[in-house]
């Protein structure tokens, strides 16, 4: 081997090894473990083939989780993406007041997810919560709810919190794409008499499609693995109504003590992530073919 190549491998190897040890190997191991049945109390593993997956197909809570993950993906995409784009376009300039506003919109991301969950749990409290109190003082008393205690509402109440926390982050990502568009394009369009709306539809959106796709993938993958907020606010309750795959996986592994079953749920999460990534790659490839 050439000396230069050897040197390159030496530089790359430590990172690659740590990555393989903590991520790649466990990933494969999870898939293997999903074909066994065992508990931490009785560590003898019994091979049951696809038994865990068969059971998943009849598990009501698993399907609640799957459905809720679907809500998380769809609602996060249709609310966070447009709002983040509006913010990036609206307050993306170098003006001092725009910089200040951007800092404000970004700040919920700096608050730890657990802290966010705690704040909003108190905020949503049915008896003494600040939200119901606010609604009442605005004369909207009929809108007060049990929020997190309401099985039909809990998931959506938490999705709203997630939107609050992450929109500023997506604004920053889109802003990076926005700043890559050369100013002279807008100047030329302006000279040709284009309105602001026309510039937005004809220049901004088409040139940002790629970064919007990347951001959409981030939102989708983030929605598949969402865990923290739900775990803090409802632990998947009431009665498993706000469960998602990640919370149900945690519940199965460390509360119900069913490790193999939990590994099967984790494998499903992995497959969903893979599907989302393949769809995204297809879309980007189409994009490149069109360009």
């Amino acid at each position: 081997m050439r000396r230069a190549t050897l040197a390159a491998y030496c530089l790359v190897l430590p990172a690659a090894l740590v990555f393989a040890f903590y991520i790649t190997y466990p990933l494969v191991h999870t898939c293997v473990l999903s074909t066994y049945s065992w508990t931490p109390l009785d560590p003898v593993k019994r091979f049951i083939g696809l038994g865990n997956y068969q059971e998943l197909l009849t598990d009501r809570h698993f399907f609640t989780g799957l459905k809720n993950n679907g809500w998380w993906i769809v609602l996060s995409l249709v609310t966070q993406l447009p709002l983040a784009l509006l913010l990036a376009v609206g307050i993306g300039s170098a003006l001092r007041r725009h910089r200040l506003l951007r800092t404000l919109f970004f700040s919920p991301l700096i608050v730890p997810a657990v802290a966010v969950g705690l704040i909003w749990t108190l905020f949503y409290d049915p008896n003494f919560g600040a939200l119901n109190e606010l609604l009442e003082s605005l004369g909207l008393g009929s809108l007060t709810r049990g929020w997190l205690g309401d099985p039909g509402l809990a998931t959506f109440a938490i999705i709203a919190v997630s939107g609050w926390r992450y929109t500023g982050f997506h604004m920053m990502i889109l802003l990076a794409g926005l700043q890559a568009i050369p100013d002279d394009l807008y100047e030329a369009a302006h000279i040709d008499g284009a309105t602001g709306w026309q510039s937005f539809w004809r220049i901004t959106l088409p040139l940002m499609r790629r970064i919007i796709l990347v951001d959409a993938l981030l939102i989708t993958v983030g929605s598949v693995k969402i865990f923290d907020l739900i775990w803090v606010m409802t632990q998947g309750g009431p009665n498993h109504a706000s469960e998602v795959l990640a919370t149900y996986m945690y519940y199965s592994a460390f509360i119900a003590d069913r490790m193999g079953y939990a590994a099967a749920i984790a494998t499903v999460m992995l497959v969903l992530t893979l599907i989302a990534t393949v769809i995204y790659l297809r879309l980007t490839r189409q994009e490149e073919a069109m360009a």
């Binding site: 530089l11 990076a176 984790a266 999460m269």
Partner: protein, 270 residues
């Protein structure tokens, strides 16, 4: 949109920003109010500034959690950068067989959910008998590598070739060039990546929840979670704990925010 005067538009955005800040302001104000007042008048300003909640949070060992989180975050982020920088340098500047494949292999980590490796890592930690700190720092570093390598590589690519050639002529080795030419120039990228990863480690819940055995080793997220049960009626104490958890990161962010978009944009364009 052009028809709307800019001042009106900015006012609307400012109003929206205020609504966004409301829960944070509410939490901050609430942390100075006695529990009873907080429940009966959730929106009122405190009648007088009370530090009793912070005292109670301190007794609930929030200081210990803060210390644990600080140690874990600093060690993790340093290790991420020390491991990633040489790899990013090689991917950006050296031609070698398999570079694309190895980079792609590491970048898959951007998409992998923590839950997909939780059970095997739980077993590995138990089998190796590692301490609580090491049990979480290992996975934190590994999960931080992909983004760190990606952003540093993008920045290294943009550094002019001549600078590297001059160093090579002077007889400097790769590590030397990396340390004294690339790292100083890449400061915005390093700052960006450090702050993103620090925020991630500071906030991380699932690994900390599963891998930390002893209460004295708990990080802030797990510690705060236990506050929820311990101070069920003491809302002010919970909010005080929340505020303590937020302040260090907020300070870090405000200190470095100038760099953040710059570091990100360099990565996006290349």
């Amino acid at each position: 949109m052009r028809k709307l005067p800019i001042a009106v538009r900015d006012f609307a955005f400012a109003l929206l920003a205020l609504v966004f800040m409301l829960p944070i302001i509410w939490a901050l104000v609430g942390s100075f109010k006695p529990a009873r007042e907080l429940r009966i008048h959730p929106w009122a300003l405190p009648q007088k500034l009370e530090f009793a909640n912070y005292l109670a949070a301190w007794k609930g060992s929030i200081g210990l959690y803060l210390l644990n989180s600080t140690v874990v975050t600093i060690v993790s982020v340093l290790a991420m950068i020390i491991l990633s920088a040489p790899a990013a340098y090689a991917f950006a500047r050296l031609r070698f067989r398999g570079s694309v494949v190895i980079l792609g292999f590491i970048l898959t980590g951007l998409l992998i959910p923590a839950h997909a490796v939780l059970i095997p890592l739980y077993q590995i930690n138990a089998a190796l008998g590692v301490g609580d700190y090491l049990a979480i720092i290992g996975p934190y570093v590994a999960f931080g590598l992909p983004l760190t390598v990606l952003l540093l590589r993008a920045y290294f690519v943009s550094i002019p070739e001549e600078l590297m050639e001059a160093a090579v002529i002077d007889g400097a080795g790769h590590l030397r060039i990396l340390w004294s030419v690339f790292m100083p120039l890449a400061r915005p990228a390093v700052a960006t990546v450090a702050i993103f990863q620090a925020a991630w480690v500071w906030n991380e819940l699932p690994f900390a929840l599963v891998f930390i055995k002893q209460q004295v080793h708990q990080t802030l997220p797990v510690g705060l979670l236990s506050f929820q049960g311990e101070y069920i009626a003491q809302w002010g104490t919970i909010l005080a704990g929340v505020c303590v958890a937020v302040v260090p990161l907020m300070a870090l962010y405000l200190l470095f925010q100038r760099h953040i978009v710059r570091g990100l944009t360099a990565g996006a364009v290349k």
